[in-house]
Amino acid sequence: MKKIVIREEYCIGCRLCEIHCLVQHSKSKEIIKAYKGEYPKPMSRVRVEQLHHLSFAMQCRHCEDAPCLEACLSGAMHRDKKTGAVLCDEDKCVGCWMCIMVCPFGVIERNTEGKKIASKCDLCTGQEKPVCVKNCPNEAIVYEE
């Protein structure tokens, strides 16, 4: 399957990926509304980690052997049969946070503004390329087979 490959040596820490991700996962898909006028507030599913001169964008690795799938007690966390992506069915999720407890990448977050749900990268379902990759100015994340 196609996955997002992280190239930390190219990341300039601009955090544009976070902004595009948040907007993509908003209702309006408009930046000002997404940041200032939506409830529940949309969240970015990618996180830029930064330490001194090093930085990289980190999002769900869509693991082959995904511990979150095994830990999920509601059946919300599932693997998409077509794409192989690990997705969270937000209607099923009860917010038990078992996935957060077991994800070694720490890329699942609590979204508690509305109904409590686990928030994670969905590889921008329906898009040809995840928006974080598409909008990265320095190809620090690339989408590859």
Binding site: E49, E70, L73, V94, C99, I100, P104
Partner: protein, 433 residues
């Protein structure tokens, strides 16, 4: 007539489901029969507290699609109980007298709630809380008797989740805990205190170092429970009583089988029991504990899922091995998320070191337990951000010397970890840093 199948699974919870899926990954054809004394499709037992509290409806109890059995070609016998296994004849006898033959058997019968023997324990209104049927019975009783006051015995996870559900139904709850604090098995004192005081804020009484010795019921009618009498003779009115002091492996029916058991069924790294071709997984078995290497029953969902998968793989001729049980619990109580993993009790071993952040006024407590420069446990209350990174460090036994001072900093992340470990983590399956 004997009904033979290649794979026979007793049980229908997560270990059984994971076993089915695991078998089907390598063997698409071999016949699978599954037996369960419950009549339900694949439902999630941990969701019963959400169901009781009205957070979800019955339709959301199922964690697999309703074509799960057909899609995996499973002959599911629901509503019948396995009462005996005969490992020489390779058969399992059900409560209706029928006999099922097997080539490979998997036992995942889970746990049975412990109910202490005490006067009045058979009164109406005394319940345990582990199954969907329990939930339905409790709900029906509450509605019929317009219950407004409840007592819960046991301040562990099941007791507290039951409490939360009862509170959501506008029922006043008193929790009785024999230990000196709630959540004594998974939490330390500071973590217990935060949740304890939150429970009290929402009107729940928490009584520790005490338990029920007698139940008084109405003398007439349905003999409904009226009150409980405590160890110190104090009486507490109770219109319903939930007994949640723990579960024990459900292995009574195996007595005549010759299978080796301690507290639970003894298994090896392949989840095979002392009997040839008989495997066990989940809350009924006693697998190797991850940190100590010693056998221990750890009744948690993710372990059951993994054990079921390992059992299924080996039953179908695979060679996967179980790396061990690591105690881990995630539970949100009174809106405060909590996660505990591994060794959390630091009072019994001098060599353990602790790094912690403690802000009770903000309901935040984060503790990391260290032994020989490796993390062996965490307790996070109020802020569980990226807890899984720590779980991963425990499992991989990573030396923390190079990032120790950073370990509970807000920006702690993969970037704090040694480069080789970080690259190892995110590489594989076509991913490289």
């Amino acid at each position: 007539m004997k009904n033979n199948s290649k794979y026979l699974i007793i049980g229908n919870s997560v270990a059984a489901v994971a076993c089915v899926e695991s078998i089907r990954r390598t063997d698409a054809e071999g016949s699978i029969t599954l037996v369960s004394d419950e009549t339900y499709h694949t439902y999630s037992r941990p969701l019963i507290s959400y169901l009781l509290g009205g957070k979800i409806g019955p339709e959301r109890m199922f964690y697999r699609d309703n074509n799960f059995y057909t899609e995996n070609n499973v002959n599911a016998i629901l509503g019948k109980k396995a009462v005996k296994i005969d490992a020489d004849k390779k058969t399992v006898v059900l409560n209706d007298g029928s006999e099922l033959g097997y080539e490979k058997l998997m036992i995942s019968t889970g746990g049975t709630p412990i109910v202490p023997d005490m006067p009045g324990v058979k009164s109406s209104g005394v319940f345990t809380f582990t199954t969907w049927d329990d939930t339905n019975n409790i709900k029906e009783y509450i509605e019929k008797n317009k219950v407004k006051k409840a007592v819960v015995i046991g301040g562990g996870l099941i007791g507290l989740k039951a409490t939360e559900a009862l509170l959501a139904l506008d029922i006043k709850v008193t929790i009785l805990e024999l230990a000196d604090r709630i959540l004594a098995a998974t939490f330390d004192k500071k973590a217990s205190a935060i949740i304890g005081s939150e429970l009290e804020k929402v009107g729940c009484a928490v009584i520790t170092n005490n338990t029920v010795t007698k139940i008084n019921a109405a003398k007439t009618g349905a003999k409904n429970i009226k009150e409980v009498v405590l160890k110190n003779k104090k009486k507490i009115p109770a219109e319903i009583l939930i007994v949640a002091i723990g579960v024990r492996p459900n292995i009574e029916f195996l007595k005549s089988s010759g299978i080796k058991t301690n507290r639970g069924i003894v298994v090896d790294d392949k989840m095979q029991s002392s009997l040839k071709d008989v495997y066990a997984a989940g809350d009924c078995c006693e697998a190797k504990e991850f940190l100590s290497g010693l056998p221990q029953v750890i009744a948690i969902w993710p372990s059951a899922a993994r054990q079921g998968r390992i059992a299924g793989n080996n039953m179908a001729g695979g060679t996967e091995k179980y790396t061990g049980n690591l105690a881990k619990n995630s539970v949100e109580l009174c809106g405060v998320p909590t996660i505990s993993v591994g060794l959390t009790d630091t009072t019994k071993e001098k060599a353990l070191e602790v790094i912690e952040v403690y802000e009770p006024e903000n309901l935040i407590y984060r503790k990391v337990v260290i032994r020989n420069n490796k993390i062996v446990g965490i307790v996070f209350v109020g802020n569980i951000t990226r807890a899984g990174i720590y779980t991963g460090l425990i499992k991989d036994g990573v030396d923390i010397s190079s990032f120790r001072s950073h370990i509970l900093k807000e920006d702690f992340g993969l970037i704090s970890l040694p480069k080789e470990y970080r690259k190892h983590l995110v590489s594989g399956a076509g991913i490289e840093v």
